[in-house]
């Protein structure tokens, strides 16, 4: 038991060290700053700039969270505070089914529905030329994917708040909305942050569905209608190919290292906020 515990506890570190050792070849020749901030990605001539992938990943993650966060929060509040109980009983299986669909199916759905929708309707309607494969398409697909997960956590969090706390606020003469805004939301804040952090980490690491609709074009996206490229897609698309190019596999390992580092960073920030707001 202790051995398995240690294994689980040290696995992230082992992964980290392993990836570092694999990418040390690249780090030996280039400075970290160059790798992260350089925009030029031309492995055949030895140019490894990760900025397009990092920026692409950030775009996709942030936009999908902007879609996900308000939808999930409002839905969770509505379902737990305003609807009758049977509504939740109907919704739960629907949410679980959404959560269980493989990501490649979501990707396919993105190609068949979201991409044409953006290129034919949304783009022209806004007067923007786009081929549909874009940051926005990836963010849409990602949102649909992570909404069930985040929503499920949020619903559980709101349901875990004791009714008596609600009654206490109402007995002071607060309206239902005041109770939600001033008491329930504050009580749920650590949980809400954790749920969003979880969604964020999933969005950042999601590979398949994003890769299928994001366009996979190496350049800095200027708007959400531009195509982009993400770190996980970079690894998935290229590992195992063109490994004859010097330092190429080392560069992909570095991409994985970046991914791991960013997830760790998310985790730490989340942890900080949860501890910070958990005192009430």
């Amino acid at each position: 038991m202790i051995i398995s515990l240690l294994l689980v506890a040290f696995l992230p570190f082992l992964l980290f060290i392993g990836l570092y050792l694999k990418s040390v070849l690249l780090l030996h020749d280039y400075s970290l700053g160059d790798l992260i901030f350089s925009k030029v990605w031309r492995p055949s001539s030895g140019k490894f700039g990760f900025a397009p992938f990092i920026i692409g990943s950030i775009w996709v993650t942030v936009v999908s969270m902007l879609i996900t966060a308000p939808i999930c929060l409002l839905t969770a509040i509505y379902v737990t505070q305003y609807t009758k109980k049977y509504f939740l009983r109907i919704m739960h299986p629907a949410i679980d089914i959404l959560a269980g669909i493989p990501s490649v199916v979501y990707g396919l759905w993105g190609i068949l529905v979201i991409v044409p929708f953006i290129s034919r309707y949304l783009g022209p309607w806004l007067g923007i030329q786009t081929m549909g494969y874009s940051i926005l398409a990836a963010s849409f697909v990602l949102s649909i994917m992570i909404i069930p997960f985040v929503l499920n956590i949020l619903i559980e969090i709101f349901r875990a708040i004791p009714t008596e706390l609600k009654e206490a606020a109402l007995s002071l003469g607060a309206t239902q909305w005041q109770t939600i805004k001033h008491v329930l939301l504050r009580k749920a804040l650590p949980g809400i942050i954790a749920a969003f952090g979880f969604g964020l980490a999933r969005a950042f690491g999601e590979t398949m569905a994003v890769l299928m609709v994001v366009g996979n074009v190496v350049r800095l996206p200027k708007s959400v209608f531009d195509p982009g490229y993400t770190l996980p897609a970079l690894i998935a698309n290229n590992y195992g190919e063109m490994l004859s190019i010097p330092k190429y596999d080392s560069a992909l390992m570095f991409a994985a290292l970046l991914l791991l580092a960013v997830s760790l960073f998310f985790n730490l920030v989340m942890h900080f906020f949860i501890v910070r707001y958990n005192k009430y």
Partner: protein, 253 residues
């Protein structure tokens, strides 16, 4: 209606689906007295209390019929301002549920809901109500701490202060000492004793000795029905009904 009656409950019935939780309740609750609703667990005491400040609205499965008259107004019909109505009553529940805020803001929030905005006045009143709940001396230096850091007895007194801060006429208490240690319980009971000059207090309990200690009036309930009601001397000294005698004798609970 009697001048001294604050709350009149007439033919109150509460159904949850097909089960009847309260059966034909008729109670008179006198002004500026402590009325204790006594009875074993699950006899509908808490539901009765929740009817009084319309917290039953939270449970759509409950069907409430009958009349509850407070100063002659039927609050079950009042559609307009439930929030004003709830502010006529301070609620103290079985376990303390401080709001997720600082100690100070727990009281200040109740004051703000009352419409008091002046910061100096809020400051003065927070102090006043904490004193009334005999909590001020213990926590005067800790006002900015989260309320959850207080001991459970202190939390319950904070909740009492918060309930008083809405400036109610009635205090509803649902087994307020059941989660507390004896000393904190005594604190609460003593506070109630001094509060009854200004408030009408309705206290729900299943503890006989507590009822004996602080009650002016006693309502004995069993399985959703009022078995017997009257002054504490009548009910405890000379119970008329068989069930009351048995309960007071401790033969069933």
């Amino acid at each position: 209606m009697d001048q001294n009656t604050k709350i009149e409950i007439r033919d109150l019935n509460v159904f949850a689906g097909k089960t009847q939780i309260l059966k034909n309740i008729n109670i008179d609750i006198p002004k500026n007295k402590i009325t204790v609703i006594l009875g074993p667990s699950g006899c509908g005491k808490t539901t009765l209390l929740k009817c009084l400040n319309r917290l039953t609205d939270l449970y759509p499965e409950l069907k409430v019929s009958g009349q509850i008259l407070i100063d002659g107004n039927n609050i079950l019909e009042a559609k307009e301002d439930i929030y004003k109505l709830r502010q006529q009553m301070g609620l103290l529940s079985q376990r303390p549920y401080p709001l997720p805020m600082t100690i100070y803001n727990n009281i200040a929030y109740a004051l703000k809901l009352r419409g008091i905005k002046n910061r100096r006045e809020i400051h003065k009143l927070v102090m006043h109500y904490l004193q009334q709940a005999s909590l001020w001396e213990e926590i005067r230096t800790r006002l900015r701490e989260p309320a959850s850091r207080l001991s459970i007895g202190q939390q319950q007194r904070l909740c009492l202060a918060r309930g008083l801060a809405v400036n109610p006429e009635i205090i509803l208490a649902d087994e307020p000492t059941s989660a507390l240690d004896p000393i904190s319980s005594q604190f609460i009971e003593e506070t109630f004793g001094s509060l009854k000059n200004d408030y009408t207090i309705v206290l729900v309990t299943h503890v006989l000795r507590q009822a004996k200690r602080i009650a002016d009036n006693v309502v004995f309930m069993y399985l959703g029905e009022v078995i017997e009601q009257g002054s504490v001397e009548e009910v405890f000294g000379n119970p008329k009904m068989e069930k009351t005698k048995l309960y007071l004798g401790g033969t069933f609970n």
